[in-house]
Symmetry: C2
Subunit: 225 residues, 2 copies
DNA sequence: TAATTATTGTGATGCATATCACAAAATAAT
DNA sequence: ATTATTTTGTGATATGCATCACAATAATTA
């Protein structure tokens, strides 16, 4: 219930297709919230009544697996977080936690539904986003189970560089044990593999600071599993 | 370019919301095809220009992984097959192959897009379907990597019984090596685990014929990994 | 600045399961 | 029917990686 959504600097390609009227409805029916690192944005098992839009920051989507947490993926603003849950199920099937400081908008489902109905272009964009996510899920699923640790670690590093930070040097946004949950391995293995990559000159590793030195070789490792 | 879609006995909840006019457009712009067991319906890597609707039969969605085929899941009619690809990407990111004799409709993307735009209820249903699939992907992803073989095998058997055949006794629609690709394990392990389940009285196994005798215990195994 | 607490590095050990190897059935082809 | 081919069962062996254990370092908090 705050600022004018039309003026929001975090508008996406999808929202740019909204009508004046829809923007007004959005502005009147959303709630802006800030989260600190580690805060829970969406909690698995809780009832879901809002569409959640991550407008600034980094978040992790994770599941409370039978044994340990599993991080499904890291997502970067701008993106919708609660879509699959809000439309597919009433109860959140996963948790979302802030990895950096984060800004989030909560939008009432009914209003969002109404806006979807009244804006064809917008709903098309949403369908496309969902489709792309599903394809991405397929890819992940296939990779993680078939490759082995070095391959998956290589993938994650490349993904960080290309999708999240858009730079070959970055600071790991998560601890090694979180990285382990993301790659489906143990904390110890993450440490060992990062050490190997460093020793072999594929990356330079200084604390949480990483620079990718040989992306070609990393890609090769990714392919060979 | 054949029968009247409105009279198709395989209409779904989504299609039931189409207007007369849209049904007409569908009827004039779709192609019905039959496939035999083992035939390729969608081929990974090929250009995609159609939405594909599986109206009868069973199909497997699979990826050409780096080493061996990975079956992402078995799907049962009625369902859309090519949606994520057609909207998320121009190139098929996965293959779909007929597991039983199968009937499929190919619908031109542009017509489908048009119908989506002109039928709110329909496009809402499609969004819901996509969301549910994404949640399902999450669940699978989490399970397969965290549980171990016996757990995943138990899951697949329960899924076959409940989602695919709606009966506790059924004939396995795929070979053990395909089952292995679905569960992410080796053919030998599938054979061993099925043998164990049989010996322990959880299922009765006669060739490809399976009857689930103790679903409760299977569920327990599924949870303990 | 000291004291706690969380994170990371690294060896030693164990285990689940892949892989190999080959026989036995079952299916399909001739 | 007979042969060829695919599918299945089962032991023996190999191995990638989790787990355990503990030291070293870094990051918080007092």
């Amino acid at each position: 219930m705050q600022s004018d959504c039309k003026l929001c600097p975090f508008n996406t390609r999808a929202t740019s297709m909204l009508s004046e009227e829809s923007f007004g409805q959005l502005s009147d029916n959303h709630l802006e919230l800030k989260f600190k690192k580690g805060d829970t944005i969406i909690k698995q098992g809780m009832f879901s009544t809002n569409v959640v839009f991550l407008r600034r920051g980094l978040a992790k989507i994770h599941l409370n697996g039978p044994y340990h947490e599993q991080i499904v993926r890291l997502v970067k603003a701008p993106t919708y977080l609660g879509l699959p849950t809000t439309f597919g199920d009433k109860v959140n099937q996963y948790s979302v936690t802030a990895v950096t400081e984060t800004e989030v908008c909560y939008i009432d489902v009914h209003i969002f539904q109404k806006i979807l109905n009244e804006n064809r272009e917008f709903s098309n964009e949403i369908i496309i986003e969902l489709c792309q996510n599903e394809l991405e899920s397929f890819r992940r699923c296939a990779n993680r189970t078939q490759k082995q640790i070095r391959g998956n670690m290589a993938d994650v590093l490349i993904e960080f560089a290309e999708k999240i930070f858009q730079s070959d040097s970055f600071t790991l946004p998560v601890s090694q044990s979180e990285l382990a949950n993301l790659v489906d391995t143990s904390r110890e293995s993450v440490s060992r593999v990062l050490g190997e990559f460093d020793k072999d000159g594929l990356i330079s590793l200084e604390g949480k600071r990483i620079e990718i030195l040989n992306k070609k070789s990393l890609r090769l490792i990714s392919q060979n599993g």
